[in-house]
């Protein structure tokens, strides 16, 4: 008995198949990484237990998971808009840092005396604009000069990261910080409020912002004329041109939104967690929220509502990464997770479009 494998194209990709494949790819990633744990001589079930309990098993763990999920969610939603239009923005990391820089500038230098009511919204608006500019530059280069946005957005990340370093070592170096490369602490009016004591560091205004952005973005894509253009462009660029849609306008629009949203995430980090600008790796711990958000978006299949869930999952993985260090595994094992999940999600893409039929016939 030799099974016969046949691959057939699915006429319609249903959402239940997509969900099943997403879950399957995550399970496969877990199994693949389990072998790595075995290689380290650690029982995988024990390690997974640790990760799960670390990130979801206690109130402090779970609140920390949400804290990490917030920037992933906001960046991921923005990336979903760009990816929908087949614009591959890899620059959320840099756009996030630019948002952090803008928020810091406003909080420390522009209107430090202002009250929270004025200061915090200004920081968010400034952060959005800074991130948007960082996204629009590669957008213009793509639309006008056909520069590959994967490369340009990636390069913009390094510029942003170096700009942060320049500022914290140079002009913005805190006078009261004993020579450490960090800025002064923000005035209290620039601190985002936390949930009541015992709920950890959840800066809830940013969380509310993230959740509303998920809904708004979903409505934007599915219900508006601009969203219609984005979808047409992503599904068939030739048809978009034929229908009189402007390629330039759409590319700029999606880069503006995805850059701006990443900028908002940056504001949330400095105003909610750090209360100052610090080393890039401090604001966005490796592998970087902006990069992890790419995987979050892919796992959420570019659906803003699904990205809420996938960002929580990855938030949990980041927190769990701290937990497994305790049992003698390197933090880089979490990087493996990210890689494995992306690998299987992209591989699973094939399964959503094709089905494999196994026939047991001689």
């Amino acid at each position: 008995m030799i099974p016969k494998l046949k691959i057939e194209k699915r006429p319609i990709v249903s959402s239940s198949v997509t969900l099943a494949v997403s879950i399957l790819s995550m399970l496969l990633a877990l199994i693949a990484v389990a072998f790595v744990f075995l290689g380290y001589g650690v029982d995988p079930t024990y390690a997974y237990q640790k990760i799960f309990i670390g990130s979801f098993g206690s109130l402090t763990g779970f609140s920390e998971t949400i804290v990490k999920a917030i920037p992933l969610m906001i960046c991921g939603i923005g990336l979903a808009v760009a990816f929908k239009a087949l614009v591959w923005n890899i620059g959320a990391e840099g756009q996030l840092l630019m948002g952090a820089i803008a928020a810091t500038g406003i909080a420390l230098y522009v209107i430090p005396e202002a009250s929270s009511v004025l200061l915090l919204p200004s920081m968010f608006i400034g952060g959005f604009l800074a991130g948007a500019v960082w996204g629009v530059i590669p957008g213009v280069l793509k639309a006008k000069l056909k520069a590959n946005e994967v490369i340009t957005t990636l390069m913009m990340n390094y510029i942003a990261s170096n700009l942060v370093e320049y500022l914290i070592y140079g002009p913005w170096k805190g006078a009261m910080e004993w020579g450490f490369p960090i800025t002064n602490e923000f005035p209290l009016s620039a601190w985002l409020p936390y949930l009541p004591i015992g709920m950890g560091r959840i800066h809830y205004p940013t969380l509310i912002l993230a959740l509303s952005l998920a809904v708004l973005t979903y409505v934007f894509i599915m219900r508006t004329t601009l969203g219609f253009e984005v979808r047409v462009m992503g599904e068939n660029p030739d048809a978009a041109k034929y229908a009189g849609m402007s390629y330039f306008k759409t590319v700029i629009l999606v880069m503006l939104i995805s850059g701006g949203l990443a900028g908002l995430a940056g504001v949330g980090e400095v105003a909610g967690i750090h209360h100052r600008l610090r080393y890039p790796k401090g604001i966005s711990p490796p592998p970087g929220y902006g990069y992890t958000a790419i995987i979050v978006t892919c796992l959420g299949r570019l659906n803003p509502l699904a990205i809420i869930l996938s960002s929580l999952l990855f938030g949990g993985l980041l927190v769990g990464g701290d937990a497994i260090q305790v049992i003698g595994l390197p933090f880089a094992a979490i990087g493996l997770f990210n890689g494995a999940i992306l690998f299987f999600v992209l591989g699973g893409e094939l399964l959503t479009r094709y089905k494999i039929i196994i026939r047991w016939r001689g």
């Binding site: 057939e8 006429p11 319609i12 219900r223 508006t224 004329t225 601009l226 219609f228 253009e229 979808r231 047409v232 599904e235 068939n236 030739d238 048809a239 041109k241 034929y242 229908a243 009189g244 849609m245 402007s246």
Partner: protein, 545 residues
């Protein structure tokens, strides 16, 4: 079991192997011809695809020395049946006999060994390579040293014998489409094909090239080989074939001797009802000029001049047909007029306004409808719903949107109206457009393009690849638009189509008009010559107005 079958195939195909194709096969097939035995017989072939039965218990046979036309509308199952014979699909049920013995064809390699050769609609050639290299591709018998010498010699022999003129050392990209087709035929013959399957072979050829092809096919079959000629064109089937098998909805309607049948009967079998061949063209008064093109120039994607100084005027209530072999600048002309390509010189006026190099949006807003050449690549967003595709160009109009928000209820209502108005067959308005058949996709595009009362319709190959029923429907729609006062620019390779519905005919060759003639005065031979670029009949008064 497996090895037994392969052995059997080997045994059967032995006489067909290349090298000794000249003498032995002639003897072999003559013997068969005497016995009146079929070269290939397909029995009870069933092939199901999700949701359709593409082949429903089909019986089909080909005798040595015959040209057998496989006639049917698009989606009738012709290509599926031949893909089964050529090993691309496996049948769900049914048997195939070659030379009297049952064979199991699991792959094109098995099919080639059993003596099949197939020329696909889209050629399977490696463009940067030479003719000989393409023919040698995939041959297991090639010699290690200088393998091409032998191939070149044999190719030259084959071309000589069948009048398949082609230089073995030429690179494929340098050849015309007709020559590329000849390479495909030689490739099949070289591999010892006894049964040559041609899938819609004339769709890319000029009338002259079609004639050459038919001559070649007659010479090929003289030696006992058989040709299966897939087509949906009645005239061609009647002209070239000895027998015709008509398929409809995956079933065989009948197999008839060509000399005993006629066009009307075939059309009835193919479509399942009476078909009008003569469309009624009511006299329409020509109105004011809608489209004026003056000394227009444009480049192709490669940057070479593709439109080289074209001028004409098109009026309300008039259809101007542009005939010509594909690749003579028609595509570029259409794209410049619709704003999709920049002109390098000259001017385009629509209703008196200069729209040269305006954006597609601006030109759409002037009331220009565009039925694009590549309807799926350009005219449609395949994964989006029928309703969304119906508003692809109007999504911004106040009718369908308000303050950036799409009015979904209204969009759905209009979609339902247009689906019934244009008889688009679709499970629902929410179905992804890619699931529709070719004819229904074109109806969808027409529903979108013609609903807004366009002043100018640019229709590129509007019935290309469509079946008789859909073709008739689309031509009727265009004529109706003409009566309503639209100006229509019709680009088509189908001369019959151009002759039957246009008022004037322009022939395009190498980026220029060879002439513009009123259809009443046009003769098909003359047009054919102009398509080949040999005759100019420019009527200066026609154009300098």
């Amino acid at each position: 079991m497996l090895s037994a079958i392969t052995k059997k195939i080997k045994k059967i195909s032995k006489p067909f192997e290349k090298g000794h194709l000249a003498e032995e096969t002639r003897v072999c097939s003559n013997e068969k011809a005497k016995r009146g035995e079929a070269l290939v017989r397909m029995e009870g072939i069933v092939k199901r695809f999700p949701g359709v039965v593409a082949n429903d218990h089909i019986n089909f046979e080909v005798k040595p020395g015959e040209i057998h036309a496989l006639l049917g509308e698009n989606g009738a199952g012709k290509t599926t049946l031949m893909n089964i014979l050529y090993g691309i699909y496996r049948p769900d049920e049914g048997k195939i006999y070659v030379g009297g013995g049952k064979v199991e064809i699991k792959s094109p390699r098995d099919a080639i060994e059993a003596g099949m050769g197939m020329v696909h609609q889209h050629f399977m050639l490696v463009y940067p390579h030479t003719v000989a290299e393409n023919i040698a591709l995939g041959l297991s018998s090639s010699k290690f040293l200088f393998p091409l010498r032998e191939v070149e010699k044999e190719v030259a022999e084959l071309s000589e014998r069948y009048g398949l003129k082609v230089d073995p050392k030429a690179k494929i990209w340098q050849l015309s489409v007709g020559e590329q087709q000849r390479v495909e035929i030689i490739k099949a013959l070289y591999r010892g094909a006894q049964v040559l399957i041609l899938d819609e072979p004339t769709s890319v050829l000029t009338p002259r090239e079609i004639k050459d092809l038919f001559d070649i096919l007659r010479r090929i079959t003289k030696e006992g080989r058989a040709v299966i000629f897939i087509t949906h064109k009645l005239d061609e089937a009647l002209e070239i074939s000895d027998r015709i098998t008509v398929l409809r909805h995956g079933k065989v309607v009948a197999t008839v001797d060509t000399f005993k049948t006629n066009k009307g009967e075939l059309a009835r079998m193919m479509v399942g009802r009476e078909v009008l061949f003569r469309l009624e063209r009511k006299p329409v008064e020509r109105g004011k000029a809608v489209l004026e093109v003056k000394n227009l120039r444009a480049s192709s994607d490669r940057g070479l001049p593709a439109v080289r100084g074209i001028s004409f005027t098109l009026n309300e209530g008039e259809i101007l047909g542009i005939a010509g072999v594909a690749g003579n600048g028609q595509r570029e002309l259409v794209e410049v007029i619709t704003g999709l390509r920049k002109a390098t010189g000259g001017e385009v006026f629509i209703l008196g306004e200069d729209v040269t190099n305006c954006s597609p949006k601006k030109i759409i807003e002037k009331g220009v409808a565009h039925i694009p050449e590549e309807r799926i690549r350009m005219g449609l967003v395949p994964s989006m719903s029928v309703a969304e595709n119906l508003i692809l160009k109007d999504y911004c109009s106040p009718l369908f949107s308000e303050n950036l928000f799409l009015k979904h209820t209204l969009i759905d209502q209009v979609a339902e109206k247009r689906i019934s108005e244009y008889s688009i067959i679709t499970p629902s308005k929410k179905t992804p457009a890619k699931l529709l058949s070719g004819g229904n996709i074109q109806r969808l595009i027409l529903a979108r393009e013609l609903s807004e009362k366009p002043c100018l319709i640019v229709a590129a190959h509007p019935t290309y690849g469509l079946d008789v029923g859909a073709t008739e429907y689309i031509r009727t729609l265009l004529l109706k638009q003409r009566e309503m006062g639209a100006a229509i620019l019709l680009v088509s390779e189908d001369l019959e189509e151009i002759m039957s519905i246009s008022d004037r005919i322009a022939v395009m060759f190498q980026g220029e008009f060879m002439g513009i003639v009123p259809t009443k005065e046009a003769e098909i031979e003359e047009i054919g010559l102009m398509m080949a670029g040999t005759k100019r009949m420019m009527n200066p008064s026609e154009d300098s107005q």
